[in-house]
Amino acid sequence: MRNFLNKKVQAIEPSGIRRFFSMASEMKDVISLGVGEPDFDTPWHVRDEAIYTIQKGRTFYTANAGLLELRQAIAENIMRLQGVAYDPAKEVLVTIGGSEAIDLVFRAVIEPEDEVIYTQPSYVSYLPCVQLAGGVPVAIDLKEENNFRLTREELEAAITDKTKVLVLSFPNNPTGAVMTKADLEAIVDLIIEKDLLVVSDEIYDRLTYNDDEEHVSIISFPGMRERTIYINGFSKAYAMTGWRLGYCAGPAQIIEQMTKIHQFTIMAAPTMSQYAGLEALKSGEQDVEEMRESYNQRRRFLLSELERLGIPCFEPLGAFYIFPNISQFGMTSEEFATRLIMEKRVAVVPGTAFGKSGEGFVRISYAYSINELKAAIERIEQFIEELKQEK
C-alpha cells in the first residue's frame, strides 16, 4: 500500500502538552494546575438562553458569517472597549473559537515562503497553522528580563524581505505578559514601514490586572485597523470554552476571503452557541468583572506564595497563568514538571511545551479555587524542600 499521508502534516510535531496530559490523566489524586480554561461555570443566564434557543426551535444554520445580531453586538463591544468601528455586515466573522480564526487568517493570506513572525513562548497553534498554510514560521524568543514583552529591537531583527505577518498574542498564554500602550507604540511605525499584516489574538483581553491601564489593542493605533485581523472569543472572558465560539474583525477584503474558507469548511458556528454569546455580550459585564476580581486574588496569592518559596517569577498582568523561573533547581522544565507530577501529584506544564524559549520555566494556571491552590502549593513546597536536600 502507498503511504497515503501528507508529508507536511506528518512532519508537524504533536503538541508538547499531550504527553503530560496522558501522564496526568492516568494518575489518581492529581492536583492539576495545568488547565488553560476557566474553572467557573458559564453564567446561568447565558446557559438558560441557549436552552431557550433550543426550546424555541432555533436549531437551523445561521448566516455563514454568523447571526447579524451577534456580529452587531461584537462590533459594539469592540467599539466600547477599543473605540474602533467595524461594519458588522462585512468586517466581522463569527468562528468556532478563536482558534478557527487563527487557521483561517493564515490560509487566507499566506503564499509559499511567506514568513510569519510570532513570539515564543506561545500558544501552541500558531506554528502548526502557519506550516499547514505553507508559510514559514519565524519565532522571536521573548526574554524574562523584558517581562516577556516584544521589543522593537527584537522585532526589527526578525523582519526580512519575506516577512508578511506578525502574530501578537497579548495578554499571553503561557507567560501572562501584557503589551501596554507604550510597548505597542514602540513597534507600530515599524510594522507600518515594513508593510506587515498583524494577527492580534486578544482572547484574554478582559483578564488584565494592571491598575494603571486597561488592555489596549493594537487596532486602536492610527493606521493599524486596516492592517490587523483582530481575534477574540467568548471562552475566557465568559467561561465558555466548550461552546466553541470566537470571532474576528478586520478589513473587509480579508474577512471576505476568510469567510469563503469558513463557508466551505464550517458553514456556520453552532446556532445555540451564537445566541448564548449574544446574551453574554448583552448582560454579562458583571460576570466578567466578578471573575476578573477572583482571578486577580488568586494571582496575588500565587505570586506571594512563590515569593515565599524563593521561586523567582516576573509579575504577570494578564490571562490566568504564572510563569515562574525554575532554572535554580538544575533541571530542565520537562524534568521538573515530570518529577513534580510523579513525586507530588501536582500537574504543571513545562515551559518548553510552548516553544524552546520556555526552557527554565513552567506554566502554572490559576483557574482554580484558592483552596485548590493552597493544597497544590503545600505539595510544591514539600517538593522543593526535598530538592534542596538532594543538593
Partner: protein
C-alpha cells in the same frame, strides 16, 4: 468597590481567612485589613462568624418551618414593637418585615413537628396583634447562603489543556 466592600465580600463566603491572607488576596497591607475589620465589627456591619450546616444530612427527625404572619399594628405600636414580642423567642431563627400579602416572615429552628405546632398555637397565635399565621414546613433545602445543598456534578475539566 471600596476596601470595606472588598473585605466583606471575601469573608462573607470564607470567614476563616486570616487577615494576612485577605491582605495578600486584595494586594493590601495586613494592618489596614485588621483595622478595617475591627471597625466593621464595632459598627456591627460584621454581625458574627457562623458555620453553614446542612442539618438535613444529620440523622434527626426534626423539621424547619417558615411562617407568614399577618398582624394588626395598634396605635402607638408600630411593627417593631410587635416584632419584638416575637423575635425574642429562641425558636425564631430569622425574622423579616415584608411587603406583600403578609407582614412578617419568620423562620424557625429545626424542631420536632410537635414542638413547632405547639409554638405556633400556644406562642404566636395568642399574641394580641397577630391576625393569622400560615405555616410552611420546609421539605428540602436546595440552596442557602449561595451554597448548593444538593450534590453538584464533578468538575469535568481535563487535567492538562493548552
Amino acid at each position: 468597590m471600596d476596601i470595606r466592600e472588598k473585605i466583606l465580600k471575601l469573608i462573607e463566603h470564607d470567614s476563616r481567612l486570616t487577615h494576612k491572607e485577605i491582605a495578600t488576596l486584595l494586594g493590601l497591607e495586613e494592618a489596614l485589613i485588621s483595622q478595617t475589620i475591627k471597625e466593621l465589627e464595632e459598627e456591627k456591619i460584621i454581625c458574627g462568624y457562623h458555620t453553614l450546616v446542612n442539618w438535613d444530612k444529620t440523622d434527626d427527625n426534626m423539621v424547619s418551618a417558615i411562617i407568614e404572619l399577618r398582624v394588626n399594628p395598634q396605635r402607638g405600636q408600630g411593627f417593631d414593637r410587635i416584632a419584638e414580642k416575637i423575635y425574642h423567642f429562641p425558636e425564631v431563627k430569622s425574622m423579616y418585615l415584608t411587603s406583600g400579602g403578609f407582614d412578617f416572615l419568620i423562620e424557625l429552628h429545626k424542631a420536632p413537628i410537635r414542638e413547632i405546632a405547639d409554638f405556633v398555637s400556644s406562642r404566636l397565635s395568642i399574641i394580641e396583634e397577630v391576625q393569622s399565621t400560615t405555616t410552611h414546613v420546609i421539605l428540602k433545602k436546595y440552596k442557602e447562603y449561595d451554597t448548593l445543598f444538593i450534590k453538584k456534578e464533578n468538575n469535568r475539566r481535563m487535567v492538562v489543556t493548552p
